[in-house]
């Protein structure tokens, strides 16, 4: 594949990683060019720091306070992850229930789809009120509600859009409904479920941060970002936002990695298996 190989290639894995790294090169170039332009233009046009700090200032602010900001981000990420687990878990269980009892599903689904269109994040002050500002569960709750709908709707779609002949095949073996779910519906719903989970990973971080904007303990990243803007410490606020983004991206990446490992059979993943 590659032009020069330094040492013998022991397995397909190295080749695969090499191929994937090469796939990333254009994205990395775009990122670096973007940062460079940002730095160059803010310097050239002397943009005020409170409008848009230079990347170097943001990096400096992060470096000066990295231990504290990191701890804040970990705290907020724990809220997000808790909300993700709770909301996604409930979403998957509900989807299985609705797929099993179609009549209930048909009755409930329009509302679930409609609920998906509600700006759920607007409920953040309400969940703060329910569980208390300082209770991490108030942020987990809003993150969980945000995660629930995309996971539920996508998983349900996966569970119900199964090749009818697969079901006929299992019926021909006298298999019951439990086997039908275990052997066909759940495995074939995984690609759909992961579409929902990847959305949920991003939404959970948004939910936790926005929940914190409406109040929370001082060791939370959202509270820290809000305080920094109010104290005109914009580079530090931007550093917090960058850190929140990094956690969101890594979380998304982790879910995508689990997806790749569990649904390597799916057509969308086959391209990486090497010809």
């Amino acid at each position: 594949m590659t032009s020069t190989v330094v040492e013998p290639v022991p397995s397909g894995l190295r080749q695969e990683l090499g191929g994937r790294l090469r796939d990333w090169i254009p994205a990395v170039v775009v990122f670096l060019v973007g940062i460079g332009l940002w730095q160059g233009l803010t310097t050239a046009f002397d943009v005020q720091t409170f409008l848009l700090p230079k990347p170097s200032e943001i990096a400096q602010a992060f470096w000066d306070d990295k231990g504290v900001l990191w701890d804040y981000a970990v705290y907020t990420f724990k809220e997000a992850a808790g909300g993700f687990a709770l909301g996604s878990g409930l979403g998957i269980i509900t989807a299985i229930f609705l797929a099993r009892f179609r009549i209930v599903g048909r009755a409930v689904l329009p509302f679930a789809v409609a609920a998906n269109a509600i700006p759920i994040i607007a409920f953040a002050p309400i969940t703060n009120n329910w569980f208390g500002l300082l209770n991490p569960f108030s942020k987990m709750a809003i993150a969980a509600i945000l995660c629930f709908f995309p996971v539920m709707v996508n998983t349900l779609r996966g569970l119900t859009s199964v090749d009818p002949r697969s079901i006929e095949l299992l019926r021909s073996y006298g298999a019951g409904e439990v086997s039908e779910f275990r052997l066909v519906r759940i495995p074939s719903s995984l690609p759909f479920m992961f579409t929902g989970l990847k959305l949920a990973a991003v939404l959970s971080m948004i939910g936790a941060i926005v929940g914190e904007y409406f109040g929370g303990p001082t060791n939370a990243l959202g509270v820290s970002i809000l305080n920094d803007t109010q104290l005109f410490n914009f580079p530090r606020a931007w550093a917090g936002i960058a850190l929140a983004s990094a956690f969101g991206i890594v979380f998304y990446g982790a879910v995508a990695l689990v997806e790749r490992l569990t649904t390597s059979w799916h057509p969308s993943a086959r391209g990486f298996r090497g010809e």
Binding site: G174, L183, P187, W265
Partner: protein
């Protein structure tokens, strides 16, 4: 059939009307004796696939009775009395070839060692040894269909239901799989009900060809195929083979002619 042996499949006055009001099958009577290879042939919409699914208790008839091995079709299905092969292989992409073949055995609660032995035997039978850990999508269409046949045979069902199993394959693969199927049929001694729309295929494989006509789906003719067994490439050269192909073709044409006359009649009235 007045054979002494009890029928494997016994169908009496079966009618199937779909909810749309379309009569898919009308007054079907059919007996299939042990060891027979019966093909159902007819134009599309004649209900041949529906009839196969009724035998397998995957579709329930509107009226009439079906028994399989002297039991109700429902009981026969729960007792794993038949294996089924569809036009597409219907393999699960998330399972390896070996685990696709052993799927029915898992449902029957066989232990791992016994399953592995049986899968090895079956893959040898369909000439796929070495592909145990391949994924279905890595195989050609013909290989996939052989996996699906191995799966249907895995638990040694006395009855095999096949719904146009080679319909999606190219002619060369189809001929090779026809020969393989006959070899398996002779070896396993099973009874096969086979749906096809290929006249030469039906004549080549079957001991009896059931000709069906459409709207409503009925049995218009039953033709005994008296070609010598075992059959092979020489069978295709046998003059009797061509005679029988012609007989089936004419029977289909008669059924088809009936239908066009009937279809034309209301149109004239409407004018």
């Amino acid at each position: 059939m007045t054979a002494d042996a009890p029928s494997v499949v016994s169908i009496e006055r079966v009618v199937k009307t779909f909810r749309t009001g379309v009569t898919a099958l009308l007054d079907i009577d059919l007996e299939v004796a042990p060891g027979e290879f019966v093909s159902l042939i007819g134009p599309s919409g004649c209900g041949k696939s529906t009839l196969l699914r009724i035998i397998g208790d995957l579709v329930s008839p509107t009226s009439g009775t079906i028994s399989v091995h002297g039991k109700t079709a429902h009981q026969a299905r729960l007792d794993h009395d038949y294996g089924i092969v569809f036009q597409d292989a219907v393999l699960f992409d998330w399972r390896t070839v070996a685990r696709n073949v052993s799927l029915p055995l898992e449902l029957l609660g066989w232990d791992r060692a016994r399953r592995r032995r049986r899968v090895a035997e079956l893959l040898e039978l369909v000439e796929l040894t070495g592909f145990e850990s391949s994924r279905p999508w890595q195989l050609s269409g013909g290989m996939q269909q052989r996996v699906s046949i191995a799966r249907a045979l895995s638990f040694d069902p006395a009855l095999l239901l096949m719904d146009e199993p080679f319909g999606a394959l190219d002619e060369m693969t189809r001929e090779r799989l026809n020969l393989e199927l006959l070899r398996i049929w002779e070896k396993a001694g099973s009874t096969i009900v086979f749906v096809t729309h290929s006249i030469p295929e039906a004549v080549f494989l079957s001991t009896r060809v059931v000709v069906m006509s459409a709207r409503p789906g009925r049995i218009s003719d039953v033709i005994e195929i008296d070609l010598p067994q075992p059959r092979g490439t020489a069978t295709h050269e046998d003059p009797r083979f061509f005679e029988l192909v012609t007989t089936v073709r004419e029977a289909l044409a008669v059924g088809h002619g009936d239908r066009s006359v009937r279809d034309a009649a209301p149109a004239v009235e409407e004018l």
